[in-house]
Amino acid sequence: MTTFLQAVAGGLGQGSVYALLALGFVIIYKSMRVVSFAQPAFMLAGALAVSFLAEALLGIPSPWGFFLALVLGAVGVALLGLGIERTVIRPMVGKPVFVIAIITLGIDIVVRLVANIFIGLDVRPVGDPWGLNSINLGGVQVQERHIVMLVTTVLLVAVLFSFFKYSRLGLAMRAASFNQETALAQGISVGTVFATSWAMAGALAAVAGTFQATGAGIDQNLWIIGLKALPAIILGGLDSLGGAVIGGFTVGLVESLVATYQGDFAPWLGQNFSVVSAYVVMLLVLLVRPYGLFGTKEVERV
C-alpha cells in the first residue's frame, strides 16, 4: 500500500508538468485551431530564465526568492510568446493550418538553439530550494518538490478556469473558439484572443519547464518532456481544458505506476517500459474514442 501511495504521489507531481504543458497546447488550439510545436522551447526558455532570476534573487529568503523568480520567468516567457505571435504567427493567419504548425516547429528550433547557448553542456541548477528531499506523510515518502508542483498546478488550474468562466476576455476567448465570425460580430478582437492564448501558453510552459528542472536541473534535453504533453492532450481531447488537466495527470500516474510495478508483473516488457506506457494508453484510448475522452467529435487532428 505504501509503495502504491508513493507511486501515486510521484505520478501526480510529474503529472502536474504534463497538465500545465497540455493546457498550453489546448489553449492555443482552441483559439487558432493549430497545434503549436513551440511549447517545448517555451518550457526550456522558462526554466532557463528562472534559473538566472533565482540566482539574482538569492538575497530573498527561501523559498520566496524562487517563487518570485518563477513568476517573473513565466511573465517573461509570456511576453516572448506574445511577441512571437504578433510578429511571426499573426501574418500567417488564414494560411493552411499545416503551414502554421510547421512555422511553430521552426520557432521551437530557433528558441531552443538560443537557449542552448546559455545552458552549455553541463546541467544547470534551476535554483529551487527542494532538490530531491522528501518528507514522510503518514509513512509515505513524498518528494517536497512534488507537493509544491501539485499544489501550484491545482491553484493555477483554478485561476485559469475562473478566468474562462467569469472574465470578459476569458468569455471572449471561449466565444471566439466556438465561432469566430460571431465573436467578431460581438466586437471581440480576434487578434487579442490569439495574442492572449500565446502568452498564457508561454507562461504555463515556463512553469512546467521550471518544475521539470527541479531536482535534476536543466540540460539541453529538457524539452523532450514537452512531447509527453501530446499523449496527454490526445487522451483528453485537443479542445478540452478539463481534458488536458485530466490527461496530464493520467499520463503522470500511468508512468509512475508502470515504473513501480511493471518489473514485478510484466518483466518481459523490458526495462524502462514506463517511458512509452503513456503512448500505449493513448493508442488504446484512440481506438475507442478517436476524439479523446473529453474532446468534441468534429475536431480534426493535425
Binding site: R168, L171, A172, R174, F178, Q180, E181, T182, G187, I188
Partner: protein, 261 residues
C-alpha cells in the same frame, strides 16, 4: 443615419455580388430589406458590420457612412464600438455557453453597463431569464432567435441589423418576434430588417427596399410596397419565367411563394 452609397462588393476577388447598392436607414426607424435567396442581402449586412473579410469579400466601390463618417474600412470591433450590431442569419448562438454567458459576450464592448443592459434584455425576453443557466444549444429555435437578439442588444447598439429573424419559425413565433422588433425600436434602437417574409417585415417597417441580383430594384414606403401588385406578382414567381422546368425551379418557386405568404 446609416447610409450605403453605390456599394460594390466582390468575393474572392472575382465574384461581383453587390452592384451599386444605395440604401438609407434613418435614425429611429425600421427599414425593411427584401429579396429572394441569393439576392445579396446578407452580403450587404456583412459589408456594414465589417464581416466581409471572414468570407474573403471586399468593398471595391462606393461607401458606407454612419452620420457622414465612412465606416467601410473599419474592422468589425470598431463598428460594434460605434453602435452597429448585426444578428446573423441562423442565430449563431454560442451553443456551448450558457444563456447568460452568451449575453455577457454580447456585452463585450460595453461591460460598464452590463447590469442595466442585462435587466433590459431579460425584460424584453423573460424566457431568457428563466433559462439563464441553461446551455444555449438546448434552447428551441424561437428561444435561440431571442438569445441572438438579446445578445446583440447587450452592448446597447444604436443600429440593429437583423438577418432573417423569422426564418424557420412557426407563425405564432414569427408574430412574437415581430412584436419584439417593434418594442426594441420603440426603446430607441434603429432597425434594418432583412426578411424573406415580406408581409411580416412590411407590416412594421416605415420604408422598404427590394433587392435582386445585387441591385436595389424597388425603394418605396412600406405601405406602398405592400400594395404593389407588380411586386406581389413578380415575387410569386408568376412572371416572365414561364413554366416550371426542374426540381430546382420548383424549389425556387416555392421559396418565392413563401416569400410573400
Amino acid at each position: 443615419m446609416l447610409a450605403v452609397r453605390n456599394l460594390e462588393v466582390v468575393y474572392d476577388d472575382v465574384i461581383l455580388v453587390l452592384r451599386g447598392v444605395s440604401l438609407e436607414v434613418p435614425e429611429g426607424k425600421i427599414v425593411a430589406l427584401l429579396g429572394a435567396n441569393g439576392a445579396g442581402k446578407t452580403t450587404l449586412l456583412r459589408a456594414i458590420s465589417g464581416l466581409l473579410g471572414v468570407h474573403e469579400g471586399e468593398v471595391t466601390k462606393g461607401s458606407i457612412t454612419l452620420d457622414d463618417e465612412p465606416i467601410h474600412r473599419s474592422n468589425a470591433a470598431r463598428i460594434v464600438a460605434r453602435g452597429i450590431k448585426q444578428v446573423q442569419e441562423g442565430r449563431q448562438i454560442f451553443a456551448e455557453l450558457t444563456v447568460e454567458e452568451n449575453l455577457r459576450v454580447g456585452a463585450h464592448t460595453n461591460i460598464k453597463h452590463l447590469k442595466e443592459n442585462l435587466a433590459r434584455v431579460y425584460g424584453l425576453f423573460p424566457v431568457l431569464r428563466d433559462r439563464r443557466k441553461r446551455t444555449a444549444g438546448y434552447l428551441s429555435g424561437g428561444e435561440q432567435q431571442m438569445l441572438a437578439m438579446g445578445r446583440a442588444l447587450m452592448s446597447d447598439p444604436s443600429y440593429l441589423l437583423l438577418d432573417e429573424p423569422s426564418l424557420g419559425l412557426a407563425p405564432l413565433l414569427v408574430q412574437q418576434i415581430r412584436d419584439l422588433i417593434v418594442q426594441i425600436n420603440e426603446q430607441g434602437t434603429t432597425v434594418l430588417l432583412v426578411e424573406q417574409n415580406a408581409t411580416m417585415a412590411l407590416s412594421i417597417a416605415e420604408h422598404g427596399y427590394v433587392m435582386e441580383n445585387g441591385k436595389i430594384v424597388m425603394d418605396k414606403p412600406a405601405r406602398e410596397l405592400l400594395a404593389d401588385e407588380d411586386i406581389r406578382e413578380f415575387y410569386l414567381g408568376l412572371g416572365a419565367e414561364g413554366a416550371v422546368k426542374s426540381f430546382r425551379d420548383v424549389k425556387h418557386y416555392k421559396r418565392r411563394k413563401r416569400w410573400l405568404s
